[in-house]
Symmetry: C2
Subunit: 348 residues, 2 copies
Amino acid sequence: MLRCQKCGKMHKGFKIMCDCGGVLDYVEEFGGDFDSSLKREYLDVRRYLHFIPVKEEFLPHLRLPITPTVEREIKGIKVFFKLEYLMPSGSFKDRGTYVTISKLKENGINEVTLDSSGNAALSLALFTKSEGIKAHLFIPDHTSEGKKKLLKRLEAEVHEIKGSRMEVHKKAVSFEKGLYISHWYNPYFIEGTKVAAYEVYEQIGNVDYAMTPVGSGSLFLGLYKGFKELHILGNSKIPKMIAVQGKGYESLCEKSHEESKLAEGIAIPEPPRKEQMLKILEETAGTCISVGDEEISSALKELTSMGFLVEPTSATAYGAFKSLLEEGYFETGSKVLIPLTGSGLKNL
Amino acid sequence: MLRCQKCGKMHKGFKIMCDCGGVLDYVEEFGGDFDSSLKREYLDVRRYLHFIPVKEEFLPHLRLPITPTVEREIKGIKVFFKLEYLMPSGSFKDRGTYVTISKLKENGINEVTLDSSGNAALSLALFTKSEGIKAHLFIPDHTSEGKKKLLKRLEAEVHEIKGSRMEVHKKAVSFEKGLYISHWYNPYFIEGTKVAAYEVYEQIGNVDYAMTPVGSGSLFLGLYKGFKELHILGNSKIPKMIAVQGKGYESLCEKSHEESKLAEGIAIPEPPRKEQMLKILEETAGTCISVGDEEISSALKELTSMGFLVEPTSATAYGAFKSLLEEGYFETGSKVLIPLTGSGLKNL
């Protein structure tokens, strides 16, 4: 069942927003404990099927890997990079798309509309193509050439929109064909991204901090939800959640005067789930930090040196980690999770 | 221990060829059975550590995922695509590099030389960069721009050579710096690629056929070795091995007059392990088949439609599958493994 955050109304089926305009959460609880609920016969995303609201017969053909974690000790802090970019379309968005496609199939929906800065569109184009679902995709005209070429290869129906990310959003919302399924709202998307937390728990156990790039917040919200569910199941402690944003696009942090060009994937000034994220920052005693292009460039270079070929937006979290480290924010010996969200192979 | 295929001499340490010019095989046996030897606490390549000749303390920081398999029923045949392209550098070569780097570290070697059509160089550049090993890389000047850009981003020392793939090989062999570690010879590389067979066995169980693109044959040889080891351990049956080559570069099949441009990754007319591969074809009652650019293009398009963003060389195996299917080669209900070897994100 889906519950409206604003009016509390319950909904069934595929819906991304309440009639009152409130955003929806998926709220059904699953029983069992972590260990006995794992589907150990699977070494891919299906290992965690018990915890996500999908029926096995509606799963997409395409499967997601369990992404590896890589440990690096940096000035007394244990950093765990999670290689979320090793996904079929090259970004963590495939996690959300995977569950979304399952729910579309379950509900017999075969035509959809989405707006995206690039990665979510690419992910949806890939999965809809392979499942025979029609997709109308709205992207900014300044989306990277690499992503545009991939969309073309997928023979996707792409609408390139001039103007800001918010303009793209408006055009998609007012488009008349296809069910609008933006990941900014779509509660099932978060059911997919939360699986990363289950993997982390099985791979590493507890972590003290989790730092993610935040635009619309689908990874931030998913990780938090996963850690919270694990906590309710009696396992994981909930880490302090750290939201990382690009300068000039601080929906959660204090606004800066600079404007990041490199953090293109998270240039979203007004995410619909903003209040929900602010609550999580408060509840977990986390923080929000924004980074500029200089920090992003330097973080990207360091990540490359460590063997991570990622895109600039993915480097924001590591850039923020370096700043916080400098400030002495982390206790020595802390475990910090940094998901690396998007592949650098697409941005040549 | 390494044993020479030609003179039988045994060698220790890191060596890629016998003094007599023969190629070497890694021959040490590990005890135990499959089930109890799995390191189930790991959900990445380390799960199969018992079966590969590396010491945990020398493993690279960077870790490889267990790549997912995706099933598709095609005209009564069960095809299992294995997404080998979901690797840190975007190709299956990371498997061989992973073990190679471990052995280099174990043997205190910190300067190496390699020739490659692109993917192996990129893989080595990534891992040597993150481990602080110096690498001299020789590639053809017609290597795709995408791969060249990635090598540049990794600040690799690249020697672009005009001429055929064999010219590139000669230049690398005669280069005076760094230990020459070509994957054409390197026995440890095969110890890495064989892990794919262990994963397949755990994911699917037995398969009847395994079809791989074959240039130097590092994946073909690795898969066969893995399946054979599993068989000795009392588990897997050894599938019929099918070598797929690009037209004009048939080292194992009958030579054709056409010349494939798209199968650039396997354009190797004289692989050093040719005799070894011919023996495997005979022993497993497999076959060799070559494909031209038309079949490759059409296979690539179909793979894209199924959600696999791979490079043209990767599509050769599926192209060959389609031809064999047409001929009625496979028994109804057969299980056919097709590894998808290289990411399409690099070739935009």
